[in-house]
């Protein structure tokens, strides 16, 4: 997970994750353009909407695969704690925001923001967990 790493599992993960995110970007554009311009009906709508969710599922699976491949069990443990922290924080934010949206006319949070929110919160949590072992 560090910038300069000679850990092959981490390096493979970084490359694969970037590839998955590139696919996410391309599929997002494809899906947006497709849904806006063609106004497809039925099955095609669903297919187009699901398209960008595929690289995200892939990215989550990549995190799992990295954990499996990472031979350094301490690093793996740090990552697991960071992921759990990220999950908890994401659920707190969406729940609080959800109630604010409904009852206090808060600005609507786009559902598409849940993925970047999760990644950012995992990142913050990773830093905090790391700091604890310094």
């Amino acid at each position: 997970m560090e910038c300069q790493t000679n850990n092959p599992a981490a390096r493979r993960f970084t490359v694969r994750f970037i590839v998955a995110m590139a696919f996410y970007a391309v599929f997002s554009i494809l899906s947006t353009v497709g849904l806006l311009l063609w106004h497809p009906n039925g099955v095609l709508t669903w297919l187009l909407a699901i398209l960008p969710a595929l690289p995200i599922s892939g990215a989550v699976a990549l995190i799992g695969r990295y954990m499996h491949e990472e031979k350094d069990e301490f690093q793996r443990d740090v990552l697991v704690q960071a992921l759990l922290g990220g999950i908890g924080a994401t659920l707190v934010v969406t729940t609080v925001w959800g109630f604010l949206e409904d009852y206090a006319h808060f600005r609507r949070l786009d559902l598409l923001m849940t993925w970047p929110l999760y990644i950012i919160l995992v990142g913050i949590s990773y830093g905090l967990v790391k700091a604890r072992y310094r």
């Binding site: 995200i56 799992g64 992921l83 999950i87 109630f99 604010l100 949206e101 009852y103 786009d110 598409l112």
Partner: protein, 133 residues
């Protein structure tokens, strides 16, 4: 998780029950006040956040359980189930987000992300357990 003679699991069940009761109570209270007094500004914000507090408590309870669980294999399994749960949840919210933005699908209330997550954790748990049979 499955045997109730495990004191940690029993504590978890108790604490979860308490947060559920608080959740229902806070939700009813907040809705009642909104209906009868129509508060605005910071008071409205505070009231809106009220039902979210037991949910946060519930997450903390689960965190405590993971920290207290003496059976490391079970803890590991639970964590794996949670990772699968978040993966499925994020896939659903992303697909739904596109449908909502561009295909006029009804808005998924954000607080439903939380039950959605536990729903997927619930599905993953027996599947993961079967793998170690």
């Amino acid at each position: 998780m499955n045997c109730m003679n495990n004191p940690v699991a029993r504590r978890l069940m108790w604490r979860l029950t308490i947060t559920m009761v608080l959740y229902v109570a806070f939700l009813v209270l907040a809705v009642e006040i909104f209906v009868h007094y129509r508060p605005t500004g910071p008071l409205a914000w505070l009231l809106a956040v009220l039902p979210a507090l037991p949910v946060i408590g519930q997450l903390a309870v689960f965190g405590l359980y993971l920290a207290e669980e003496k059976d490391e294999f079970m803890r590991n399994l639970q964590i794996q189930a949670m990772l699968w749960g978040i993966g499925a949840t994020l896939a659903v919210t992303t697909a739904w987000g596109f449908l909502e933005n561009f295909a006029q699908v009804p808005h998924l209330d954000l607080y439903l992300v939380y039950p959605l997550f536990w729903f997927f954790v619930g599905i993953s748990t027996p599947l993961l357990k079967a793998r170690y049979k």
